[in-house]
């Protein structure tokens, strides 16, 4: 894992991703980009932005853009965004500024909730949503501790935009109307977001494929990078035909 919340690093440490900045909605938003093809916008968890082998593998097949949500990492404290839809509109301004007319979005934990809001706000622009152990349904677990000023700044934003500890009826009502294909991924060993949340997604979303990532905890990208990248790449390529295996099964053609 290469953290970009620390000092500047050479490109190699970012696993081939290049660092850049985009001005959007009054924020200077840092992002990392690699690869070519269909755009996949990836939103990080409450921990902040980092790059793993999963991101690198996905960038071998697609144009991958990892945003740093304003208020995270090296960005100043974000006291402007009040709600998840606010943040989603800011991130959509960033995709507009990058000229992305239609793209796929993925989100890890907190980022998953944000990804859903982006799709709800702009269903015409979002081709697919991949939720990685998304924090959509409250798990009842306390948030990660604010061990340093960066985490304290991030947690202050999260507490405000995520709302109270209960379920979010507004989000769930919007999910029921959403017509965008969704892939909901869970780690079978995740103690923060249990795989059983998949059952709720199946009730709330019209087009939802639930996939268990075997032997992964909450950090699916670090625990099973190949498995995570492979299933997201497959979903992005064919969200409608996702169930159908099109791999060549011939051993000796």
């Amino acid at each position: 894992m290469a953290s970009v919340a620390e000092a500047d690093r050479p490109a190699e440490a970012l696993l081939g991703f290049r660092e850049n900045v985009v001005e959007a909605d009054g924020f200077r938003i840092r992002y990392l980009e690699a690869g070519a093809g269909d755009a996949v916008v990836m939103l990080h968890s409450a921990i902040g932005l980092y790059v793993t082998e999963a991101h690198r593998l996905l960038s071998a097949k697609h144009r991958v853009i990892l945003f740093e949500v304003p208020g995270f990492g090296r960005s100043p404290a974000n006291e402007r965004s009040q709600t998840m839809p606010d943040l989603a509109r800011t991130m959509l301004a960033a995709t507009d500024a990058l000229g992305l007319k239609r793209f796929n979005v993925t989100g890890h934990s907190f980022g998953g909730r944000l990804a859903l809001w982006m799709a709800i706000e702009r269903p015409d622009a979002v081709a697919s949503v991949s939720l990685i152990a998304a924090a959509v349904i409250p798990s009842g677990r306390p948030p990660p501790p604010a061990t340093d000023p960066v985490m304290a700044k991030q947690m202050a934003l999260l507490r405000r935009v995520m709302g109270g500890p209960g379920r979010d009826p507004v989000l769930e009502a919007e999910m029921k109307k959403l017509d965008v294909p969704v892939l909901a991924l869970f780690g079978t060993n995740d103690e923060i977001i249990p795989p059983s949340h998949g059952r709720e997604y199946r009730k709330l979303l019209k087009h939802c494929n639930v996939v268990m990532i075997y032997d992964a905890g909450h950090a699916l990208d670090r625990d099973r990078p190949e498995a995570l990248a492979s299933v997201i790449a497959d979903f992005v390529e064919k969200p409608d035909g996702f169930l159908v295996n099109r791999k060549d099964g011939a051993i000796n053609p």
Binding site: L185, T188, P195, G198, R199, R202, N209, V210, V211, M212, I213, Y214, D215, R224, A227, L228, S230, V231, F242, L243, V244, N245
Partner: protein, 367 residues
């Protein structure tokens, strides 16, 4: 204590002398047909005389056990076994499609109204050759398949699986198991690794092709690790498999056994070519106690008394057999005996099953 009758479905006809895989150059379809009929007859009787379980196993290319798919045989058992549980020991899950295994167990559990015991085994080393699976992947495939099967049994909504060895886009099995959350699971536990895995995953343990001293040690290892994992197995969590023959008297039992062993021919073992065995051992199939176990499983010779002393055979009058069982209960802590009927098939085996039900089972219930 409880007792299971193990339906080995051993082909009693002539077999070409050979290492595994055994060729079918000498074969009688009529004998194979009769094998199943005899096994079903024994199972029907065992059910009637009070055996708690009827069990079946999975072996491949093997005349000593012609149930390569024990699920098929268990389908027939559901129609003759009306009271006892039906234990599949196993499915060899690392060489199978785990979704198929979950479906078959669930079907059988439904057909029996919830009387299925789900053994999940790694199989014998040669069986990795059967479906062309790398034996070095055995333990990792086992762990993944077990997790997947449990989820396939319990998850109400369709789900996909992105594993290391298995990948599915949608799993939603019909029918569901009757038992809630699922049938009891047992695995083979002769090696320390298996005992630790079973303890961590809260599943039962079975011992077969082992000896009383080895099983005693392995059983203690399992119970110690289960305790560390926060639970304590009961005797019902431990199965011990062995041969049995009960006659009116010790003398008659011994005479019958001697007569039977004199007629035992070669070619009923899982003996592999030495190079193949070395390749499997080199792939890391065996556990940390590999050498000890390989010696045990190849040492098949020895007299009847040695087999009794070693805990691989129950033989004698009901009174003697009860005492032999007491030793297994006390030393291994096993609560379920999985019993291979003998000697040979026919009237004497049926009489032994009936006698066990009438005179041994009532006495061991309280053990």
């Amino acid at each position: 204590m409880k007792a299971a009758l193990f339906a080995t479905c051993s082909y009693p006809g002539e077999v070409a002398p050979s290492n595994w895989p055994i060729p079918v150059t000498v074969y009688s379809a009529e004998t194979a047909e009769r094998t199943f009929a005899t096994a079903l007859e024994q199972c029907r009787l065992a059910d009637e005389v009070g055996f708690d379980w009827i069990s079946a196993a999975e072996h491949h290319y093997a005349p000593f056990c012609i149930t390569p798919n024990p699920m098929v045989f268990a389908g027939a058992l559901t129609q003759v076994v009306k009271r006892a549980k039906i234990a599949l020991l196993g499915a060899d899950i690392p060489i199978q499609n785990p979704v198929r295994v979950a479906e078959e167990f669930a079907m059988l559990d439904t057909m029996t109204g919830g009387r299925i015991v789900a053994g999940m085994l790694r199989g014998t080393p040669n069986e990795y050759i059967t479906y062309n699976v790398n034996p070095s992947e055995s333990r990792a495939r086992f762990a993944e398949a077990l997790t997947l099967i449990r989820m396939a049994w319990s998850e109400p909504e369709p789900f996909g699986w992105q594993g290391r060895y298995y990948e599915y886009r949608a799993i939603s099995i019909w029918p569901r198991p009757v038992q809630d959350p699922h049938p009891p699971i047992y695995m083979s536990g002769s090696s320390p690794e298996s005992g630790e895995f079973a303890a961590k995953n809260r599943v039962g343990l079975g011992f077969a092709v082992t000896t009383l001293p080895l099983a005693t040690k392995a059983s203690k290892h399992y119970r110690d690790h289960a305790h560390l994992a926060g639970w304590d197995p009961t005797p019902d969590d431990i199965i011990y498999r062995m041969n049995f023959y009960v006659a009116d008297s010790d003398e008659q039992a011994m005479a019958d056994m001697l007569e039977f062993t004199a007629h035992m021919g070669p070619g009923r073992t899982l003996q592999l070519e030495r190079q193949t065995e070395s390749a499997i051992a080199g792939a890391g199939y065996y556990g940390r106690d590999a050498e000890q176990r390989m010696r045990t499983t190849s040492a098949r010779a020895g007299d009847i008394q040695a087999h009794i002393d070693n805990g691989t055979l129950l033989v004698g009058s009901p009174k003697s057999v009860i005492e032999q069982i007491r030793r297994i209960r006390e030393e291994v802590g096993a609560g379920i005996l999985d019993l291979i009927p003998g000697p040979a098939n026919g009237e004497r085996a049926l009489a032994s099953i009936a006698r066990f039900g009438a005179e041994v089972l009532p006495a061991i219930r309280a053990m």
